[in-house]
Every structure is written in C-alpha cells, then in structure tokens.
C-alpha cells in the first residue's frame, strides 16, 4: 500500500485551540492499517491530546520502531518531524535526539514485539535514563506486521487464531517498568478514548520517561475467542485502578473531591494531575503497594488501567548529566571550539 494524502476539507464549525490550530492541523497521512485496528484509535487520541494541549507541531518529534504500530507516526501531526527507525531501536534514536536538542517534545510509538522482544534492552534503558519522552507501547499480543505470531506480551494460555496455545509467561511492560524504577507508568485501552487522551496528555507533560502501555487489539490476527488481547476480553476484564484528571496550568482545580480520595501531582510546568482512587487504597505514588496490587489483579486476569505509578520528582537524563540549558544543536561553534591558543597550551604538556 502506498501513502495516501488525506484530503483536508475546511469545516468552518471546527474549533481552534489556544494557538489557533484546528484539530486537523494535528493529523497526518491516511492510515493504511486494517479497518478496526486498535492502533488507529490511538492515533486519533494522540491527535486529540496534542490539539488539546495546544502544542505547536513543529516542536514535536515522533519516532517509532518497526511494526504496524510503528507505522502510525505517519498518520498524525504531519507538521512534526518523524523518524521511523529500525526494529526495536526507537529508544536509542530518541535518546540521541533528546541529547542533541532537549527542547523538543518527544513521542515514541512502539509495539509489544518492538519493545518487549527485539527492543527489550532499549526499552529498559530509556526507562533507566528517564528520558524525557512519552513512550507508547501499542500492545496487541502479536506481531501484526509479520502476520500474527505470538509476541512476548501474549498471556500464557491465550489462543492464536490458528489454534496454538501460548506456552510462555508474558512480559508485562507495566510491572517491568515499575520494577525498573520508572517515573511514570500507565495502561489504557484503545477502546477507552477518554481515559487514553487524559493519560496521553499526562504523559506528554510528565518531565521524564512516561511509559504508556495501550491494549490495542489486532482485528486481523488476535481478536478471536481465546485471545486475551481482543476487544471483548479487554472490555470484560477492564479494571481502572484510578481515574486521572489532567488540569492545565492555567486552570484552577474546580472539581470537588473528597479529602483522602484523591492525590494531586504537580508537574514542573505547573499543570496538575488529579488522581481519583477508584479502588480503595490505591496509591499511584507508592511503588511497593502498586506492585502488590498489580500482582493481585494479574492473578484474577484483570486488565488494570489508569495512571498506575508516578514520581514526578525523579530527575530526567539532562538533569543528571547537568547539560547546558541551550540545546546542543544551538550552541555556537565559537562556544565549542577551544581555539589555537588552547591547543598550543595543551600541547606544551605533551613534550
């Protein structure tokens, strides 16, 4: 399939965001994925989230690995630079991009195959560096692009379309990221637009590596009875652990909330996350209790969603490195080159 440009039709009724852009200014090329693919819903949510946040598209870089999921950066924000890299290696390219220009807003799209098999190492190290980016894993339990093999995210006992039963324990990106010391871990479902948009916005604004695992059914290879990544299974076992409200810095928190029922997390730009506990006692800022909770729910076969863990205080990569506030690519050559005098002086010690 080749690339098809989406016709842009002016609808006078469309609303502008704070910087005067319409939602379609955040759209990209026409998707070539299968009709009904969960990934397309995530793309739509990404468009919505960036539009709502009024982020200029040119300030954004969108990167991906290889897979159906990794194709999607072509389908949103054509005004942003994109980088469809190699299989499993999106995080390293994002690391370099962030190293070279820390002012960019970075969104990485990956798949469960891309991040949990071939790219498991790079996934872990993006978390470890707390790279300032939103890292989305569009999780369908299979390798969509290579026609439906089980991925490492497939649950043990789940059934493939042709009947094979998966014998291997799954790798859960959420508990893996939390145990690695991640600063932001969330899970959502491509079918829950409202939650997804909120979590995307929270992840974009989070000053560090925001891991967002999104169950995103593959309608062609993994949406049948016996699959634990189908629309039906996910809806039946859908279990939000907390409900998040994203409050932009300009807005006051107006919603009334019961003392002790919510946690407010302030992000560095002044925006706030309001975490309402739906399950009693769920505390997304307490790592050990989160791990215990996730384990309980896993045993019950529940798909726990929501902002599951957050620590907005963990320093991101540049803070640890003490990198200059000026982006590397914007430093003047004169600031970088020590000059002939320094060279002569240095060499005096080499004799």
């Amino acid at each position: 399939m080749s690339f098809i440009r989406k016709p842009k039709i002016d609808l006078p009724s469309e609303r502008q965001n704070e910087i005067g852009l319409l939602k379609r200014d955040y759209e990209g090329g026409l998707s070539t994925l299968c009709a009904g693919c969960g990934h397309d819903s995530i793309t739509a949510a990404i468009v919505q989230a960036f539009w709502e946040l009024s982020i200029p598209p040119e300030k954004v870089i969108k990167l991906s690995g290889i897979g159906c999921s990794s194709k999607t950066p072509a389908y949103f924000m054509s005004g942003a630079h994109g980088f469809n890299s190699v299989h499993g290696r999106m995080p390293s390219v994002a690391t370099g991009a962030q190293a070279g220009n820390r002012d960019l807003i970075c969104i990485g799209v990956s798949g469960d195959g891309d991040s949990l098999s071939i790219g498991f190492g790079q996934f872990g190290h993006a978390v470890r560096r707390n790279l300032n980016m939103l890292y989305i894993i569009e999780n369908n339990g299979v390798y969509g692009l290579t026609k439906g093999q089980f991925s490492a995210a497939a649950d043990k006992g789940s059934r493939a379309k042709r009947g094979d039963i998966n014998q291997w324990k799954n790798i859960d990106p959420v508990s893996t990221a939390i145990s690695m010391g991640s600063s932001f871990v969330a899970r959502s479902f491509s079918g829950d637009r409202e939650q997804l948009v909120t979590l995307l916005k929270a992840g974009i604004m989070h000053p560090g590596c925001a891991i967002l695992d999104v169950v995103s059914p593959c309608v062609t290879f993994n949406n049948h009875l016996g699959s634990t990544k189908s629309y039906t299974y996910t809806r039946d076992h859908y279990h939000p652990a907390s409900q998040t409200d994203f409050v932009p810095h300009a807005n006051e928190i107006r919603a009334s909330y019961e003392e002790g029922e919510s946690i407010i997390v302030e992000l560095h730009d002044g925006s706030k996350l309001l975490l309402k506990k739906t399950d009693s006692g769920y505390d997304a800022t307490n790592r050990s209790s989160v791990m215990r909770y996730l384990e309980q729910q896993r045993a019950r076969g529940e798909v726990v969603t929501g902002l599951l863990y957050i620590n907005a205080e963990l320093p991101e990569m540049h803070k640890i490195y003490r990198t200059s506030e000026t982006a590397m690519k914007d430093l003047e050559y004169e600031q970088l080159n020590p000059g002939s005098e320094a060279l002569a002086k240095l060499q005096a010690g080499m004799r």
Binding site: H81, T95, L336
Partner: protein, 603 residues
C-alpha cells in the same frame, strides 16, 4: 659489540600487568624526546587487568623511523616469569638488565649478550617504607639505571619529574631518590655508558608525543561535536576517555557548571549507533568510537543512515578479529566490512589516518564530510595508532575555520520555499537539503528506512526507488572529489614498481623504501588516505607494472577493494601481508617485495 651506536636502539621493558610501570616508561620516552631524538613507544599487553606479562618497547631512531623494529638491544627484565623468553629475544650483542635481588638461574645465560644485575627490589626496600611506593619506585629506579647505561640526560629526567609531580612535592622527592639509586649503582658497577647510547640531538620543540585515541578525541572537540555515544571496547575506549577529559577542560561553563556536551554510555553498540543518528538528525554533531565487533552490531543502523542520509561519524579503532580475536593486538582487518557495511547496496567513505596527527585532522574532516555528504563516515585507525605513543609534528589550528554543515535549510530558508522536499537534488551533486526538527512545520519530513521517493514520501514504486538509489551513486561521485587525496612519494629513479599502503603500515614502508634503495630497488610509494578512491589512486595503479599492496590483515582487503573499485588487472597487485597482531615491521615489507622480485632480502 663495542662499535658505538648513537641514537639508534630499541629498548624493551618486560613487567607484570598492573605494577605501575607506565609512568616510568613514559619518563624514559619523554627524556629521549626532550633530548631531540626521534622516538616511539609501543605497548604489548595481554587482555587482562592484573598479573600477566606486559612489555613496553621504545625505539630511538636518529633517522626518524617510527615502525616497530624486530631488533631488541636492551631488555629490562622486571618479570621473572618471562625472563627466559626476554633473554631469547635480545639481539646478539645486546644487554639484559635484571633485578638481582634474587638469584638468577645459571642455565639462563647466553654467551653473546651482556647481563647486568641490579638489586632493584633490595635498594627500594632499604630506602622506602611504604609497600606500594616500593613497587613503584623499583620502576623509577630502572629508569635511573638506564640513564647511566644509555647516557640519558639526568637534568632532563629531573625536570620531567618536577613537572609531572608539581602538585605533589613528596613524590618529586621519592622519584628523584629512586632515579639516583639506580643511576649511582650503575655508574659504580658497570662501564657507563654502553656502546649503544643516547646523545642530545636535534630540536623536538615543534613536535609532541601523543597517542591516536587522544588525538582523535581532541579532534572531535575541535570539530564541534557535542554528542558522543559509545559502549566500551578495547582499543577504542581511550578515545572517549580523551573526549571526556578535553570536554571537562573546555566545555564546562565555569559559572553554572553546565556542560556543552553529552556523553552517553549506551547499553550496547546498537544503541550507540541509534544515539548518533538521533543526535545528528536533530542537528548536533555526534560520533561513536568503537572497534570491529561494535561495527558489526551497528550495521543495521549504518545502512539506515546511508539510505535515509543522516550524517554520522564512526571511529573504528581496529583490533585483531574475527570475534573477540586478540583484543589487545593490532590489525587493519575491517576495511572491507566498513567499506560496504550493512545489508542492501551500501557503500561508505572511509578515512585512513596513518598516525595521531592525521587522527586529529581527519576527525575534523570526518564531521565536515559527513555533514556535507549526509552519510556515515568511517575513520579507521587501529590499536597501534590509537594506543601507542607517537612523536608527531605539533598540531595546529586555524581560528578562522568554520565547520561545513552542508545543505541545512534553517527556518528562514524553508519559509522562502514554496514547498520543501527532503530528497530532491536541485544542483546535481547528488545531495539534497535537509531541515532540522523543532524549527519550521513547513520543513517537517519523515525519515523512513522503507522505500521513499525524492519528495520524501513512502513509495513502493520501482522507478521511484531506483531514482533514489541512483542519486546516491551521484553522491558517491561527489564524495570522490572531497575525500583526502593519497600521499605519493615518487622514487628518485625511474621505476615501474609501486607500493601501496595505508594507515599504520606507513612507517614500515617508509623505512623499507630506504632499505630497498640500498639494494638498488626503487619504488614509487602511494599512501591511500581515503575511500572512495579518487582518480589519483586509479592513475597510480594504472601507471605501474607491478604494485605491492602492503597491509595488516590475512585476506588482502585493500587489494580486493582496489580490484573491485579501480577495474585494474588483479595480477599486477601483489599482496604483502602481516597479520600476527604485532605492528608491521619494515623487514616484512622488504622480504615480501624481495620474495616476489626474487632478490635476496637485505639482512
């Protein structure tokens, strides 16, 4: 034996890994250097941290020969384990210095050498109380012994020690004491100086001593590189160490403590390559130093960078392969791999420095070429260049130099265009303009390793695919005009014989040319400095009847590359190969050439 030989000797010190002999050896090297004698120092060390034998060889050559010499005139045997082997390696008439604190087995004697015992451990135990200092000073004491034996200027030694330990006066005292212990013992016990000796000679003040890794790291600083990504691997590690050290000196804001550089120690070489691509994509200059195994891992990304046209600089400090091979030994064995690294039709410019001077120079050139050509550039040095101590002309810098960032359209340039197309070559040099993320939505484009056309859009069209890869060939032709030209040294006499070499084989060839000239055999010599080959390279091959290709690998990789890329008759390219992991000596060149020409090799 008694014939006096001045400023023409090889000194070898055998020690145990991890006993701190490095500062003693560097003291010796620098003393000879300051006496104005051309000198080089080469390490021979095991792939091990502590406890195994290691050697350091110093060659002093009044004629300026820099290659490894097979001859050893004086051997300081500090390692009892290798004593016997060390003795065997001495040339006839040579001198063996050993620590006579403990008795030496009689059967280890050789009639044609002179054995000089010095109770180094005993002296140091009597004069120093701290255990660690005793071990270190034993090394410094042999420097004192050699100063007496070789007539090394003790004033120079004193100054060097005072400079080295300027901030630690206590160490100055103990070092000088150790020097004197060795010096006085030798003066009292032996006939000093030996017939083999040093003498103050020319002026080395316009030269420096440096290793290639330091020079390359420094080059990256001067080139304006801001992002370095790497995964540790011998023998390239020293390059990132150097880059970091120089950045700490020159790139930290004294007021804020903020860094004008980012060094990422990646999780592996795959990631290091990805980081380099990402940083260059957004407009920073980024590089990675590695060695052969690292390039293997980076290969997928290298092809990606070639096809998507992302500048990127890869330093390959070559070591003995395949696989882990002999990681602390040298070879020129990755020529073929780097020239065509990755899958699909790929080819990459390579720069081939012959010494640390060129490591510095070519590091700067590599970034300019990479930005200009928007393609990966390889700089191939090796362990011999990277980790050994070379005497080179002092480095200079032109302050009016500004980097060539190539065709980069900034926000205001994009604004003037009706539409921006990423892969559209508008002037026929095969290079299209790029934009940088974060600047202008009009300049936004999508980097993809899948098929793309000149407008930067996805394609599966046969003709559009072909158009793009054919343009990359046009770029390749442009590259030929930009890479460093070969250095050609024409014979004084008319000859139909040529020699081609590159990189660290240069020294051996230069010395061999003189040796062969005394036999009446004359050659034109071309040192290839880059790939793709420019016209001069082809012309040289064409204009000689027989061309010897000297290199340090088993499979004659440069010869293969010449055959492939110049369409020359393979039969006229005669391989001269050295690949045992030690730097190539001149004798190898002489023997290889003579064997082919059926002339008796010069002794």
């Amino acid at each position: 034996m008694s014939e006096i030989r001045v400023n023409d000797f090889v000194l070898k010190i055998g020690t145990v890994n991890g006993t701190g002999s490095a500062s003693a050896n560097s003291l010796l090297l620098k003393a000879l250097f300051r006496m104005g004698i051309p000198v080089t120092g080469k390490n021979l060390f095991p792939s091990n941290i502590q406890g195994l034998p290691t050697w350091y060889g110093i060659r002093a050559s009044k004629d300026g020969y820099m290659s490894r010499s097979l001859r050893v005139d004086i051997l300081v045997a500090m390692n009892a384990q290798t004593y016997q082997k060390d003795m065997q390696n001495l040339c006839s008439g040579g001198f063996l210095v050993y620590d006579s604190t403990w008795p030496r087995e009689r059967q280890l004697n050789r009639d044609d050498i002179t054995v000089l015992g010095v109770p180094l451990a005993k002296m140091c135990n009597e004069n120093f109380s701290d255990a660690r200092i005793r071990i270190l000073m034993k090394n410094i004491a042999y420097v004192g012994v050699l100063a007496a034996l070789l007539s090394i200027d003790t004033k120079v030694l004193r100054t060097l020690i005072e400079e080295t330990f300027a901030s630690k006066p206590k160490l100055i005292e103990s070092n000088l004491k150790a020097i004197n212990l060795g010096y006085n013992y030798a003066m009292e016990t032996f006939t000093c100086p030996l017939p083999i000796r040093a003498e103050t000679m020319g002026d080395n003040s316009k030269h420096i001593m440096i290793d290639g890794n330091s020079a390359a790291g420094l080059g990256c600083v001067y080139a304006g590189a801001t992002v370095g990504a790497w995964y540790p691997i011998t023998p390239s590690t020293g390059m990132m160490d150097a880059f970091k050290a120089y950045c700490k000196t020159y790139r930290i804001d004294p007021e804020t403590g903020q860094k004008n550089y980012v060094i990422v120690q990646a999780e592996d070489e795959l990631a290091a390559a990805g980081i380099v691509l990402g940083a260059n994509w957004v407009g920073a200059r980024a590089f990675t130093p590695t060695s052969g195994p690292g390039i293997s891992l980076m290969s997928e990304f290298i092809g990606f960078a070639y096809y998507t046209e992302i500048p990127s600089v890869f330093f390959n400090v070559q070591r003995v392969g395949p696989s882990t091979g002999m990681p602390t030994r040298t070879q020129q064995c990755d020529i073929m791999m780097c020239a065509y690294a990755s899958h699909g039709d790929t080819q990459h410019p390579m720069l081939l420095p012959a010494n640390p001077y060129e490591c510095f120079e070519m590091a700067v050139q590599a970034f300019d070429l990479s930005d200009h050509l928007q393609t990966p550039i390889f700089v191939l040095s090796d362990l011999d260049i990277g980790m050994n101590d070379w005497m080179i002309p002092e480095l200079s810098w032109d302050d009016s130099f500004r980097p060539n960032r190539g065709k980069v359209l900034r926000s205001e340039d994009v604004e003037k265009l009706e539409k921006f197309y990423r892969y559209l070559d508008t002037d026929g040099d095969g290079i299209a303009a790029r934009t940088l993320p974060g600047e202008n939505p009009k300049g936004a484009y999508f980097v993809r390793g899948s098929g793309h056309n000149k407008h930067g859009m996805y394609t599966e069209s046969s003709s559009e695919y072909k158009d793009l890869v054919d343009r990359l060939l046009v770029k390749w032709e442009t590259a030929k005009t930009l890479v460093p030209k070969p250095v050609i040294k024409s014979s004084a006499k008319e000859t139909r014989l040529g020699i081609i070499a590159y990189g660290s084989s240069d020294g051996a060839v230069l010395e061999a040319l003189d040796m062969l000239a005394t036999k009446g055999i004359h050659f034109d010599y071309m040192r290839v400095r880059a790939f793709p080959f420019c016209d001069e390279v082809t012309e040289f091959v064409e204009s000689h009847e027989t061309v010897f290709v000297v290199e340090q690998n088993r499979d004659a990789q440069m010869r293969s590359l010449l055959i492939l890329e110049t369409n020359t008759d393979a039969r006229k390219l005669v391989p001269v190969l050295h690949y045992n992991g030690m730097p190539i000596p001149s004798q190898c060149v002489v023997e290889g050439v003579c064997e082919h020409l059926q002339v008796e090799a010069v002794a």
